[in-house]
């Protein structure tokens, strides 16, 4: 095909400190008892920085600071003033977008093309959108004077570190809550950079607190009695544990969990567009996407033609240096995630599905997995039932629209789905019957702060974005 010269984005724009404390009450603090962990660049296994594993005492300190800021400053501040802080933050993010994009790609492994063109614009847009709500909440349809809840405990995943932070912090602050947020242990750096942005914006101390750590820190945070609201994005298994631990506490809970989205391609679909949509659906962000279109349901009559086109397209994907502007597929976020993807892919072969990947050079260092598709997949196979969270597509077929819907809904998840057809009435018929919170028709993996996002069934509850997303942070 084509030869590409390397086109790396410069990493000089980022300034990573060797070691980070916790961000509590507007200050960087050291943990008296907390251990240090290293965060690595998954594309090279190079250590980027050390960060703190916050202890129960650290979490308590952060919640106390958030509560004090809530009582004395943030819940009393007029909405129009809160709004201006959020607008400020949005502007600072835009000003520092390139730096944050590079930092995100370094820590997460995602291609700079995505962090620069998708993550960061959405992060800024999310703050800008919610800023405008802060002084208009009485028009949001939750009564004449909806009140905030108090301290929000927020635990976010590693697949879109800064974007998930924005999805959590922007609505919480707009509604008048204060937050303690825990980023994922493999991707703490952009959240720590966001702490600096809060300082640049002169955000009152304690309104945003960032505590780093792993599962134990997250558990201490969501179980803290001073917390009035828990928001979690991550695996269904951890979501279940959180729902159990919150039972009886009257903390408000929203969960955005796993998915196993069906991407349905009818025989009359625009094939080239569908192929692009399928690729974007499962290979965007290395498939580390809860709403990834990981089950391709293709109408039997076009299976051969579609798979040929899809394989041709996959052969052109470029895997490698996330900072290279031509890279399509970056690094798998961690060794643990790579092991999970390998394990499920091996299960796919053992259970009888046929595995295919384009020839694709894999770098010597770092965590990598080639774009992979499985054909001959049965609904009972693990690769059709379990969330792989990697660049692995399971292909199933159907004959009738009713069968497509039946198979699409045959999962405990219900986060997203895709429909490809040129016939409008068939789109609406299908979308009506899909038990999923987001349905992309003739497109996939689109996000916008005005558009509510969230799942049915075991993909969790509550919505993020839009007017709907405010409900999670109001006492209504």
């Amino acid at each position: 095909m084509f030869e590409y010269a390397p086109a790396p984005e410069s990493r000089d724009v980022v300034d990573i400190r060797p070691s980070y404390g916790l961000f509590v009450n507007g200050e960087w603090v050291d943990s008296p008892g907390g251990e240090r962990e290293k965060t690595v660049n998954p594309a090279s296994e190079e250590v980027l920085a050390e960060f703190t594993m916050a202890t129960d005492a650290d979490v308590d300190r952060a919640v106390t600071a958030a509560r004090a800021a809530y009582d004395t400053v943030w819940s009393r501040m007029p909405g129009r003033e809160r709004a201006k802080y959020l607008f400020r933050i949005a502007r600072i993010i835009q000003e520092r977008a390139r730096e944050l994009a590079v930092l995100e790609s370094l820590d997460n492994g995602k291609p700079i093309r995505e962090s620069r063109d998708v993550d960061l614009p959405l992060v800024a847009a999310h703050f800008f959108y919610h800023a405008g709500w802060a002084d208009k909440l009485e028009y949001a349809g939750f009564g004449p004077a909806p009140r905030p809840l108090g301290v929000a405990a927020q635990v976010i995943p590693w697949n879109f570190p800064l974007l998930m932070l924005a999805w959590k912090i922007a609505p919480a602050l707009a509604c008048g809550n204060t937050v303690v947020l825990k980023p994922a242990e493999t991707t703490p750096l952009t959240a720590l950079a966001f702490a600096e942005i809060c300082r640049q914006a002169d955000l009152p101390p304690g309104v945003v607190n960032i505590v780093t750590g792993a599962g134990a820190t997250g558990r201490a945070l969501v179980e803290h009695p001073g917390v009035r609201k828990v928001a979690f994005t991550g695996s269904t298994e951890v979501g279940r544990q959180i729902a159990r631990s919150v039972a009886g506490t009257r903390k408000k809970l929203t969960l955005e969990l796993g998915g196993k989205a069906a991407n349905i391609v009818y025989e009359d679909a625009a094939l080239d567009q569908a192929v692009e949509g399928i690729v974007n659906g499962i290979f965007f962000n290395q498939g580390h996407v809860c709403c990834a279109g990981s089950r391709l349901l293709v109408q039997e009559s076009i299976e051969g033609e579609l798979l040929d086109a899809l394989k041709r397209r996959l052969a052109t994907l470029r895997l490698g240096d996330p900072l290279d502007k031509n890279t399509d597929i970056g690094a798998i976020n961690s060794a643990a995630q790579l092991a999970k993807i390998r394990e499920l892919s091996e299960a796919g072969e053992q259970e009888g599905a046929e595995r295919w990947s384009p020839s694709c050079p894999i770098p010597d260092k770092g965590y990598w997995f080639p774009p992979t598709l499985f054909t001959g997949v049965a609904q009972s196979h693990r690769i059709a039932r379990e969330e792989i969270f990697g660049p692995v597509l399971s292909v199933l077929t159907f004959r009738t629209p009713a069968e497509a819907v039946e198979k699409a809904n045959n999962t405990p998840f219900g986060l997203s789905a895709g429909v490809w057809t040129e016939k409008g009435s068939r789109i609406l018929w299908t979308a009506d019957r899909l038990r999923a919170g987001v349905v992309w028709a003739n497109t996939f993996n689109r996000f916008d702060p005005t558009s509510p996002f969230g799942g049915y069934r075991e993909s969790g509850y509550g919505r993020e974005g839009g007017r709907h997303g405010l409900e999670a942070y109001l006492d209504v």
């Binding site: 847009a125 349809g141 269904t236 979501g239 279940r240 544990q241 729902a243 159990r244 039972a247 009886g248 009257r250 969960l255 969990l257 405990p412 789109i427 979308a431 899909l434 038990r435 999923a436 919170g437 987001v438 349905v439 992309w440 028709a441 003739n442 497109t443 689109r446 916008d448 005005t450 558009s451 509510p452 996002f453 969230g454 049915y456 069934r457 075991e458 969790g460 509850y461 919505r463 839009g466 007017r467 709907h468 209504v476």
Partner: protein, 290 residues
């Protein structure tokens, strides 16, 4: 024996599952008494198997009921109100027995239940207007959010207010297209079974509402842990039972409506919270272009 010397014909109170009136498969019953302690009836004491049968019936009814037009669902709820109004005297008598209230007060409670149904009936084709949205996304896309029913909802009806409370928790669940399995007031289950007779003659498809009488503490946990139930309303649970059920409900991430703190005034304006608690939001994207 009445004054005329005629012996009254009593009613057998059974369960209501899938549009039919079976006895409990367990063969169990329990004594229901009036507020003064007089014997009223032997009500069915539903078992785990009955609860599972009821969930199966509710699941089977879900596609048809959720797929019905909002106009149709609204008319059927209004029809339930009509049928209830026609049996006002019967409900008033049962409420007077159950709660020891005056005949006049019992009549007012029956009236309030009718009015509550009428109020919710009108929501069927309006909830989408206040809970949906056309979202102005930053790109060439049509983007529409609509509320959809959550699925099969387990409802633990309030122990007090055996008719008005029951109607107030069932109507908001079904008007949007959910189907439900209801555990009735344990102490005063008879108005619920009479309501089932109203439901059965109101064009409400069998299985949309299933009513179980019996021990709340026995039935609620099975429904809370049932993997084919999508949501649970714990209004009728005491604090301890509610916490246990909320924990069980986490297993398949049911939506949980916790019992409100303090005593509920069922005559107050209900608001839309009970409607929205059992709604999902579905957002559909499509590119625009020529």
């Amino acid at each position: 024996m009445t004054e005329s010397g005629r012996l009254a014909v009593r009613k057998t109170y059974k369960l209501y599952i899938g549009g039919a009136f079976p006895r409990s498969e367990s063969g169990r019953s329990y004594v229901v008494t009036s507020s003064k302690g007089d014997f009223l009836a032997n009500a069915s004491r539903a078992s785990r198997k009955d609860a599972r049968d009821a969930v199966t019936a509710a699941r089977k009814a879900f596609p048809g009921w959720s797929g019905a037009t909002a106009y149709n669902r609204g008319q059927i709820l209004y029809r339930i109100a009509e049928m209830l109004e026609g049996r006002r005297a019967q409900f008033a008598a049962e409420l007077a027995d159950a709660d020891g209230v005056s005949a006049r007060r019992a009549g007012e409670l029956a009236d309030a239940a009718v009015d509550r149904l009428v109020w919710y009936a009108g929501w069927s084709d309006k909830i989408g207007a206040i809970r949906g949205a056309a979202n102005p996304v930053a790109g060439p896309y049509f983007n529409l959010s609509t509320p959809e029913p959550t699925g099969v909802v387990a409802v633990v009806a309030p122990q007090q207010a055996p008719l008005l409370g029951l109607v107030s928790v069932v109507a908001p669940v079904i008007v949007t297209g959910n189907t439900c399995v209801v555990v009735t007031s344990e102490r005063a289950p008879l108005p619920a079974i009479t309501l089932a007779e109203v439901l059965a003659t109101s064009d409400l498809p069998g299985g949309v509402v299933n009513l179980l009488t019996g021990r709340v503490a026995e039935l609620a946990p099975w429904l809370a842990g049932h993997m084919d139930v999508n949501a649970i309303d714990l209004t009728g649970c005491d604090e301890e039972l509610a916490v246990a059920c909320e924990r069980d409900a986490a297993e398949n991430l049911k939506r949980v409506l916790r019992p409100p703190a303090g005593k509920i005034d069922w005559s107050a304006d209900p608001g839309v919270e009970r409607l929205t608690a059992f709604l999902e939001t579905k957002t559909v994207w499509h590119p625009t272009g020529v």
